[in-house]
Symmetry: C2
Subunit: 242 residues, 2 copies
């Protein structure tokens, strides 16, 4: 079984359409490549009760929880407090984080350093050589900033710890209309119930109408399903396979 | 009070990183412009139980629910069935939809037309002159396809029905580091608790460090808060106001 993940994107700016979330697409692609199965993404406002409720649910439901956003020094940065609340942990000053902030954020106001050093009790730091400020996690919740450049740098620095058995993928590009071979897909998923089979029409593509994706962590199973699908689709409708 | 909305993006292809969801950002921007308050976005797999659970919750929580994805003719298109399940309605053939599909999709397999004409009992059609296939809704749930071109065309054709009192917006671009004026923002939100105040640092911008957004549906309230903020921020730190 693949490890599962839930992603929480935190920030009013996403919901109000001011900022487009690029962190969750990046995380989905990276985690898929690592072999992790993302089961849910949620975008929630900077609201302590809402975040707290969801983080508790997610921590119980998924192997990993990733949060992005709401970890800065301003009034609307409530993620840390909300996670503490949701996981029923006290907020405490983390001495190591405090020391790091003292070193790297020496010129910032003390109240800001104090806020940034305050974490849910039991939270731990993932120190990486290239990160002045480490990644914070508590239980199975990994806490990231929302600013895409910082988010990616932090995630990339720790991503190898999530590596798992990879997914194997086959792609089939089909010229026919999806409606005309829907019954073929039905048959394949009936014969191969563990196959992950996706069917994605593309509007306006001159070469093909539908992209089919076949995936499994078991390569022989994938190849059997792939062979079966190719045998059922009329040969003249297949534009390309990868 | 603004009308609220929840958005459900349905599809394994988003969670597995194959496709980037552009529908929810579009919807967030459009709904904000219309004056609707989007409170939550969720991305869920093509899983009947998961979708059914969430759609029931959302229909009870928000004024409007928008779903995108999972409405085509293939095995992984389970949105309609899941919505029926979640709202505890039977699946029935909609005679008007059946007639429209007979006219516009005459060349497609009967099983496909049958599937596309099957809807939750009580579902209604929003007929628009420019749409051959109308928008389907049931209770407060508006059901859209996932393909971005079709999604936008359908949403745009019906969006005026959601128009509400607009949000008024002021933008302030600040040269200073967010940490250095976080206390000013705290003070403004204490004095203007109904102000929607966002603070968004930008990495690598040569002109300013932070974009502040001030919003309210009450223009005088917004202007008072805006004036107060400008009075508290050191004048030399303000790069631009809009």
């Amino acid at each position: 079984m693949a490890k599962t993940a839930g992603i929480m994107v935190i920030g009013n700016e996403i919901l109000s359409g001011k900022v487009i979330d690029t962190n969750s697409p990046y995380l989905c692609q990276e985690l898929r490549t690592l072999g992790v199965d993302v089961r849910r993404i949620v975008v929630v406002p900077d609201d302590i009760a809402v975040i707290a409720h969801d983080v508790l649910l997610y921590t119980q439901t998924f192997d990993y929880v990733f949060t992005t956003g709401g970890v800065g020094p301003t009034h609307d940065d409530v993620t840390i407090e909300a996670i503490a609340h949701g996981l029923q942990r006290r907020l405490v000053v983390h001495p190591e984080m405090e020391a790091l902030l003292q070193r790297h954020w020496a010129e910032r106001p003390p109240a800001v350093r104090q806020k940034m050093a305050t974490v849910p009790e039991g939270a731990q730091l993932l120190m990486e050589p290239d990160l002045p400020i480490p990644v914070l996690y508590v239980a199975n919740v990994y806490i990231f900033p929302g600013i895409p450049q910082l988010f990616r740098r932090k995630f990339d620095s720790i991503k190898e710890r999530f590596r798992d058995v990879p997914y194997h993928v086959r792609l089939v590009y089909v010229r026919a209309r999806e409606s005309d071979f829907a019954h073929v897909l039905d048959q394949v998923v009936q014969e191969f119930p563990d196959l992950l089979l996706g069917s994605y029409p593309e509007v306006g593509n001159p070469d093909y109408r539908v992209k089919l994706t076949l995936e499994s962590k078991e390569l022989p199973y994938l190849e059997h399903a792939y062979t079966r699908l190719l045998g059922l689709l009329p040969a003249e409708t297949i534009y390309q396979v990868v």
